[in-house]
């Protein structure tokens, strides 16, 4: 019984850790992608503006 | 027939938009990238459906459910590929219309369409009897294998269009010239 509770606790802690890791990395990827693609599109736009006005 | 295609290609090539698209570094590459990356949507879904029929993907999900639910994203992918494909042809019509690989690709697209029609017809006729089986009956599996094979060759042909091994002005081989539909004196891209 005590072992069962212990393993449930461990599973709960592991799930929290996995969720926290997923949240941190997913957030970082989403923010990075937004900045990266915005910068890429902006630089092409500026280049085209320089070329064609 | 080849003369007609050639004249049509020349007419397209002379339009201003064709020239603009061909000469635009970013626009042409953007259209080409969209064409290639949409493979993940169109062929990605198609491969999952075909592999399901062969029992190699999602074997514990009813086959009809996979085919029905992935059909819409697959078709959306194919529509995007079709539009970008037409634009790519429009940008370089003369060379593309006389490409051996492009012609082979077009023939195989028709073959794939016929295969897909027969595949769906056969599947709808009998799916109730084998829907939850991990592998579809042999006739359906044959259709799935043909689909995988033909589409793989189409991708190879599509990739080969970019190479000039058999271009009309470089290939001295008569048979290839005939299949490519080379018209005498054609030099421009």
């Amino acid at each position: 019984m005590a072992d069962d509770t212990n393993s449930e606790d461990k599973d709960g802690v592991k799930m929290k850790d996995d969720q926290a890791a997923a949240l941190v990395v997913a957030q970082a990827f989403i923010v990075f992608s937004a900045i990266y693609w915005f910068t890429q599109i902006e630089s092409v736009r500026e280049l085209l503006q320089l070329a064609y006005g | 027939m080849n003369e007609l295609i050639h004249n049509l290609a020349i007419w397209l090539d002379d339009t201003e938009w064709s020239r603009m698209l061909h000469e635009s570094y970013y626009m042409y590459n953007w259209v080409e990238s969209t064409h290639v990356l949409t493979l993940m949507v169109s062929l990605g879904m198609l491969f999952l459906i075909d592999l399901r029929m062969l029992g190699l993907a999602l074997p514990d999900v009813p086959a009809s459910r996979i085919a029905e639910r992935l059909n819409l994203p697959m078709l959306v992918g194919f529509v995007v590929m079709f539009i970008t494909g037409i634009l790519l042809f429009y940008a370089v019509p003369v060379r593309t219309s006389q490409s051996l690989w492009f012609r082979l690709k077009m023939v195989l697209l028709v073959v794939c369409a016929v295969n897909a029609f027969l595949f769906h017809k056969r599947m709808n006729e009998s799916v109730a009897t084998w829907d939850i089986e991990p592998r579809a009956p042999s006739r359906i599996r044959l259709g799935a294998m043909l689909s995988l094979g033909f589409w793989s060759i189409i991708v190879v042909c599509g990739r080969f269009i970019a190479y000039d091994w058999f271009d009309c002005d470089t290939s001295p081989n008569t048979l290839i010239d005939i299949v490519s539909g080379c018209v005498d004196g054609q030099t421009r891209f």
Binding site: S33 | L37, L43, G44, F160
Partner: protein, 194 residues
């Protein structure tokens, strides 16, 4: 306090460290330190069997390029089906766990094709891609994608998905699609560069 953090959140702390390492490699100048010494490796790659075949036999290189695309289609299809299910867009009447678990197997197959053909192609044009920033960016994105898939997404989704925070699950799906799109798009751009 810190000791408790280490024992309770080992994956989170490792993930933060990996993110910082990737950012340092991409923008922090860490790459500059090792970059010159890698040239000899890339020169050697061109002398290997793969390199010689890729350089001298154009048809073989083109064929492998096409197989690379087929692997990409398979990989992308699995990502879209799996993450689309997590977002509630496709296969909504099939349990999430089933879709995620079954598409993972095909994903690994698609990724293996891409890696094998990618190594062949890299050998054939090694001294060209060495000088392309977009190639290095793709390698970083690929590393990030693989680490994310095997070390973050998969461990998370091995739990009962219904008991996970739905916002986190959806964010993971979006991030997964974004990172593989980044890998594919930067990969395509290698062909337009140099």
């Amino acid at each position: 306090m810190i000791a408790t953090m280490f024992t309770s959140y080992p994956r989170t702390l490792t993930a933060v460290a990996a993110l910082l390492a990737l950012l340092t490699l991409a923008y922090g100048g860490a790459m500059d330190a090792v970059y010159p010494s890698l040239l000899t490796v890339f020169e050697w790659l061109e002398t290997t069997w793969f390199g010689v075949i890729g350089k001298t036999w154009g048809a073989a290189f083109a064929f492998v390029e096409a197989v690379h695309l087929l692997g990409l289609a398979l990989l992308g299809g699995c990502v879209l089906a799996g993450d689309g299910r997590l977002l509630g867009v496709v296969l909504t009447d099939v349990p999430m766990q089933t879709v995620v678990e079954r598409t993972h197997r095909v994903f690994v197959f698609g990724l293996s094709i891409c890696l094998a053909t990618g190594i062949f192609m890299a050998c054939g044009v090694a001294t060209k891609i060495y000088y392309l920033p977009v190639y290095w960016f793709k390698m970083l994105a690929l590393s990030a994608g693989m680490l994310f898939h095997f070390q973050v997404r998969r461990p998370l989704l091995s739990h009962d998905i219904q008991s996970l925070n739905p916002v986190v699950v959806k964010m993971v799906a979006v991030a997964s699609m974004l990172v593989w799109f980044m890998v594919a798009a930067t990969g395509r751009w290698i062909g337009f560069s140099g």
